[in-house]
């Protein structure tokens, strides 16, 4: 939409013209705002709390305690010989990141509607901000993972070189889902109410509380198209030395990219009319 040189931009405003790709140049010109909004989310999240950023550790910590008691001690789930606490911690920390990011991203347009109606900036900033702001929580919560690893005297394997791949994948999933759900939520507020159920479904559809090897072989491929499976398997492979089975990881990567790209297109289509239908 913006043409001309940098000093005097020329903008043409026209009716909605269907499908468009993300305007990266425009997004780039708003990078300062983007940084400030991420920073605002980080700063404001634990405002006026006693424990502050400790919550980033405490939330997954309590989840791990509960799951370890129920699934590790009582149900005695098979974990390929890995202590259950270690097994679940490595999965729950990235899962907590992805689930909280998805919730925040899916509500980002609805909760930002007062700002939407008053000033223009690329709407894409809304669903992109929560997954990036919550990354700080993730990094803090990783202390928990390394603490447990030290306790069980486990060292990361050489597969740790893939860390950037799985971190990017882990961020890509909530961004993709967030673009889809936030633009759906502006018309259908049902999204908000379906979210808890959706997340419940996701936690059980990925090998967070059990091993992926428990899935029957013939369904394993289909199962792997869930991008969360790829993220969790990746983290376990890197940190615990379980088998890094790429043939069950790439399907998740493909679907993460598909969700991201289609989400971006759908978001672009919906973003201009946000204010009229919200």
């Amino acid at each position: 939409m913006t043409e001309g040189n940098a000093s005097i931009p020329i903008v043409t405003i026209k009716p909605d013209s269907g499908w468009q790709v993300i305007n990266v140049a425009e997004l780039w010109s708003y990078r300062d705002l983007f940084v400030f909004l991420i920073w605002r989310d980080i700063k404001v999240l634990y405002a006026q709390t006693v424990l502050g950023f400790m919550w980033a550790i405490l939330n997954p910590f309590f989840q791990i305690v509960v799951f370890s008691v129920i699934f590790g001690r009582i149900a005695k789930i098979e974990t390929d010989g890995i202590p259950y606490v270690l097994f679940s911690t490595v999965a729950i920390v990235p899962w907590t990141y992805m689930s909280t990011s998805m919730i925040a991203a899916s509500q980002s347009l609805v909760s930002g509607q007062s700002m939407l109606g008053k000033v223009y900036f690329p709407r894409l900033i809304f669903p992109l901000t929560p997954p990036l702001a919550k990354f700080v929580d993730f990094v803090i919560a990783m202390v928990l993972v390394f603490g447990v690893m030290v306790y069980y005297k486990v060292t990361p394997t050489a597969n740790i070189v893939y860390l950037p791949v799985f971190v990017i994948l882990m961020i890509l999933v909530p961004i993709g889902v967030g673009m889809w759900l936030s633009s759906l939520a502006i018309r259908f507020r049902d999204v908000k109410f379906a979210m808890p159920f959706f997340l419940n479904l996701l936690i059980y559809s990925a090998p967070i509380l059990y091993t992926a090897s428990a899935i029957p072989h013939e369904y394993r491929m289909l199962y792997s198209f869930n991008p969360i499976v790829a993220v969790i398997e990746g983290y376990r492979g890197m940190l615990l030395g379980t088998e890094m089975n790429w043939s069950y990881i790439w399907p998740g990567m493909v679907s993460a990219i598909v969700i991201f790209v289609t989400g971006a297109f759908y978001f672009r289509k919906m973003e201009r009319i946000v204010v009229d239908v919200i």
């Binding site: 020329i10 903008v11 043409t12 940084v35 008053k118 000033v119 204010v275």
Partner: protein, 432 residues
């Protein structure tokens, strides 16, 4: 002159999203509850689909075929009644919402102040909010850095910069927010009623700042309901009516046309038999504001007289009436109280029937601004009694001109004071 904004045949339609059906029986209501999800889905899905020739009553044309050009450096006012399409036009120009058809070409960076303080977060400090708000309004961090001390000085909240904004008074918040907005240096500035905020002194500061922006060669689009502000700020004014450009001419011409056509009900209040204030002796029927040529109007030229007309009915004979009214200005000051002094009925009991009392206020007396009227009816004989007392029954606006023949002379700036009488001046080197 180069064109800064070129608006070509812009239209905008909205769906009102109204629910059409209503259930009249329990069974039907139950049935429709089951059907509701599907209907809701269709309704919310169709919120933004328009077919050609769709004549559904659900569709509202907020703008229809609006075209105009604005040259670089022009300060253009946009006026019109509520619902005329002003806000929609500004929202399209600032890219908040797209037009349904037509196109706009804008040369230069646009900043819109549709409401100051957008994105202010209560938990962040004043300093942090200046940066956040600045970048939201389109500044780069570097620009905020450069302007920071100026912004803080303009706002006058230096002492509280590191206090969370939630601890600010609302006035402080507004001042800080406007300070940020005022220091944008866009080529094109879109302003909507910012002047409705802050105290009088701060409003003046804002107006001056906007005039500055205009005189520095920026293009300004200014929407306001305040005719004094519009005439002071703009050379050219566009008047919208029912979504179309009704008039596009010099500020003076358009504002007078607007005021002529002004027949808002705030200038006239007619009571029905059932809601008429009063008791068994006297009832109030109507109150209106009249110009010196007996038109009902909300807007009065400061140079011309106006009348406050009260129409009432005496229901019982033998009472001596004393109609009065009181005038209050926009700052809540009681400007005056006036009592009917017409000699015909002074101390004379009136027979039943309809009466009209008209009190004339001369031109060149009241100051500029909004006035509201309270009317009261006292009876003195046989007993002293207040028959009715109605506050804010009508309101009007006094508008000063810039033609030099009112009390302001050739001064075009802000002019304070409760009254603005035109005095007799004698000036010379040796006068007696």
């Amino acid at each position: 002159m180069t064109t800064a904004i070129k608006v070509e045949n812009i239209s905008k339609q909205f769906r009102l999203g109204t629910k059409v059906e209503k259930e009249d029986s329990l069974v039907r209501a139950l049935f429709s509850t089951i059907k509701a999800p599907l209907q809701n889905y269709r309704r919310y899905k169709s919120l933004y689909s328009f077919r050609d020739n769709d004549l559904s009553p659900d569709i509202l044309w907020a703008l229809k075929d609006v075209s105009f050009d604005v040259n670089r450096g022009e300060v253009v006012g946009i006026i019109g009644h509520n619902g005329a399409g002003k806000s929609t036009l500004l929202k399209i120009l600032s890219r908040i919402t797209p037009p349904s058809s037509g196109s706009i070409r804008i040369v230069g960076r646009v900043s819109s102040l549709l409401e100051v303080g957008t994105g202010f977060h209560p938990e962040l400090t004043g300093r942090e909010n200046v940066y956040l708000n600045g970048t939201i309004l389109g500044m780069r961090k570097k620009e905020v850095d450069n302007k920071f001390s100026e912004i803080v000085e303009f706002s006058g909240v230096e002492k509280f910069l590191d206090t969370p904004v939630k601890r600010y008074s609302s006035g402080m918040r507004v001042r800080l927010a406007f300070a940020v907005a005022a220091h944008l240096e866009p080529e094109i500035m879109i302003v909507d009623e910012v002047l409705a905020v802050g105290d009088a002194a701060f409003q003046k500061k804002c107006l001056d700042k906007m005039q500055d922006v205009g005189s520095q060669g920026s293009t300004v689009l200014f929407v306001s309901h305040s005719m004094p502000a519009i005439t002071r700020m703009c050379e050219r004014v566009i008047m919208l009516k029912a979504g179309s450009v009704f008039m596009d001419a010099t500020a003076h011409d358009v504002v007078s046309a607007y005021l002529q056509g002004e027949r808002d009900n705030t200038a006239e209040r007619i009571f029905t038999d059932t809601d008429a204030p009063g008791d068994t002796e006297v009832k109030l029927h109507a109150v209106r504001i009249l110009t010196d040529d007996h038109r009902v109007t909300e807007a009065i030229d400061i140079r011309r007289a106006l009348a406050i007309e009260v129409e009432y009915e005496v229901l019982q004979p033998g009472w001596v009436l004393m109609p009065t009214f009181a005038l209050w200005n926009g700052e809540g000051v009681n400007v005056c109280v006036a009592v009917d002094q017409d000699l015909t009925w002074r101390k004379v009991p009136r027979p039943p029937g309809r009466y009209t009392s008209r009190g004339w206020i001369p031109g060149n007396l009241l100051s500029e601004g909004m006035f509201t009227v309270n009317v009261t009816m006292w009876t003195l004989e046989p007993v002293r009694k207040m028959q009715y007392h109605v506050t804010d029954v009508v309101a009007f606006q006094v508008v000063d001109t810039l033609e030099g023949d009112s009390s302001r002379g050739d001064w075009k700036g802000d002019l304070p004071g409760v009254i603005r009488p035109k005095l007799i001046w004698e000036t010379g080197s040796n006068i007696k």
